[in-house]
Symmetry: C2
Subunit: 357 residues, 2 copies
DNA sequence: CTGTTAGCGCTTTCAG
DNA sequence: CTGAAAGCGCTAACAG
């Protein structure tokens, strides 16, 4: 428990002021390259580790905006909860986090809001991209160039937008895991298919790729990908289409959370339990279907953690100079079976209130 | 982003000093009950939330000792890594964490060390109990009464010791998960058995109970529990005993990490791949056996997180008055298959250095 | 039991 | 480009 090395020690050692040491350490402009190098070296040698607590006490508040599509959809509620949680955790560090929700039906209002936020005094913006990713990408890229705002994305990405980082589920791994599970659950001689939202979204494409690879490794007869465009009716109808097309269908992997309407139809058609289903995420409806043995397994994507980390990492970048070696941060998908479903009861409990779909 | 309410605001509002507000808020002695109540109420009304950062800047350093059995065993190395990580995270908060390792062959040296640590100026002690739990329990209880030390346990518990909390894997859930997995992997007509370290340890008993329950739910022919007492030779020999006793053995659940010698014998006997094996935790050897299809699944117990949270929670209790609604804190076991094994490669990488057994 | 006061280690004006 | 100095919000001596 040796004496802590402070900024004063470093300053005194070099015969300069603490202000200069500070500026040098924080990559601020207006420090000669020579002093900066000197300071860095001495700090290193002396074992100086700046105190984050002391730093946060004095520094100017940071403001983060979060822009989300205004969908009534359990997944988003979880991301939101994660964001609020991070805000709470960071309350002491003078970080202020504000959430904005905009309709995702059309892209225009979303983009307008983005321009509007850019006018305000935010330091960073976190975006959960609506399904039409490419249009938004351009806007972000433009704002990146014109302002000194920092952007991050969560859940899906905005490719080519020059955002700082993206936090998302490891979709490719999730796809492989689904394939392995179906290999354990279903007859491998029978065909399996994958159902997803829509393939304009980068994350969805990843899950498909993973499932394809996994099918190969684990010897599944992978027979097709179907989109339901996050439309309940379409999902409902799709069930019939599939059982007609594949009379001996062995398994289905649902890459998005929207499996409920589909499963309902399957039950109506008398196929429930006969076809092995692996779903995504944990929601009250999915939990119910698992208890009824309609869904055999689901792959949890931790939306809560996604939201939480997006805020946390953006803050760490802004305030503590955190570096990202990899700008796409992938979270580990988790396998949920009937036995460990109770572990997610807190989440289900939390969700009950704001969960509709 | 309204103005922050500080301790000064509360003090001014009540016409008292900040010192009194501080004392009242932190349950310190020497504040009249009347003032305390008044302060609490006013703080609440004004929306005062004490700043943890500011607090940590001034307060006296806290010291935490960690006492571990000195076993050369990958699991422990992970717990240690978690502890070090928490220490690092807390470095700014003036918390100092020191680790002590003592042989676990006999109980005496462990207990002696405990007395020795109690003499030193620690505020809290975290214990990873050696297999003989009951003897240590008594000592902890005694020290709890004689000193104002705070105790916590990690990985297993010291029942009746009056420790503040225990962090451990949810063993019962892990057992159930193993049963469900074996139900998916093995022929349910064939018998399954469980192998564990020794049943004097409370966590091991939990996994057995969980596996028993799970066998019932998932229709397994659960046929016995066998101990290997963490002895390599014994584990090696046990493989032969089991295949002789159960010629049509369908599956085995290994409740502890020590499955390697056992599997080796199984391979020698030509049973590898024929009997479905579910193991515990992720270590280099286990990863290798999974790639060879000898072990089909493993249940990760997150020893790293166990260590990390033990330190973190103890600190939060000491410094921030954190309350525990439940003094046994159970972490979620995670299912690892061949497909998601790569997610644990960081851990495996970390382990390579200090991993021997 | 309560008040006064001197910092904890850093950041940020403001003035050179 | 650099330095002096005033705090950020809290805690803990110390004095009453």
């Amino acid at each position: 428990m040796q004496k802590k090395v402070t900024i004063y020690d470093v300053a005194k050692q070099l015969g300069i002021s603490t202000a200069t040491v500070n500026r040098a350490m924080n990559d601020k402009a207006s420090v000669s390259e020579k002093t900066r190098k000197l300071v860095m070296e001495t700090a290193q040698e002396m074992g100086y580790r700046p105190s984050k607590t002391a730093a946060s006490l004095k520094r100017n508040p940071k403001r983060i905006a979060v822009l989300l599509p205004d969908t009534v959809y359990g997944y988003l509620a979880e991301v939101e909860r994660g964001i609020r949680r991070a805000s709470d955790d960071l309350a002491d560090y003078s970080v202020y986090c504000e959430m904005f929700k905009v309709t995702a039906e059309e892209t225009r209002p979303f983009i307008d809001k983005l321009y509007e936020l850019a006018e305000q005094e935010f330091d960073g913006i976190i975006i959960l991209p609506p399904s039409n990713e490419s249009e938004v990408s351009g806007v972000v890229k433009e704002l990146r160039e014109k302002t000194d705002l920092i952007f991050a994305t969560v859940t899906s990405d905005l490719e080519g937008s020059d955002r700082l980082f993206s936090i998302q589920n490891n979709g490719r791994m999730a796809g492989k895991m689904a394939a392995e599970l179906l290999g354990m659950l279903a007859d491998r001689e029978k065909p399996v298919v994958m159902v997803t939202g829509q393939l304009t979204s980068q994350v969805h494409r990843n899950t498909v790729e993973g499932f394809r690879e996994g099918s190969e490794s684990f010897g599944l007869k992978f027979s097709g990908v179907y989109e339901h465009h996050d439309n309940l009716r379409e999902a409902y109808d799709l069930a019939k289409v599939l059982v007609d097309q594949y009379p001996d269908l062995g398994g289905i992997y649902f890459g998005t959370a929207n499996s409920v309407a589909f499963c309902k139809r399957l039950q109506e058609l008398g196929y429930a339990g006969k076809i092995s289903i692996v779903a995504s995420d944990v929601f009250p409806d999915i939990a119910a279907l698992m208890r009824e043995r309609v869904i055999k397994a689901t792959i949890f994507q931790n939306p809560f953690l996604q939201g939480r980390l997006a805020v946390r990492y953006l803050y760490e970048y802004m305030a503590e100079g955190r570096q990202f070696e990899n700008d796409v941060i992938l979270l580990d998908p988790q396998i949920v079976l009937r036995s460990n479903l109770p572990l997610y009861s807190d989440i289900l409990e939390q969700m009950k209130d704001d969960y509709i779909l």
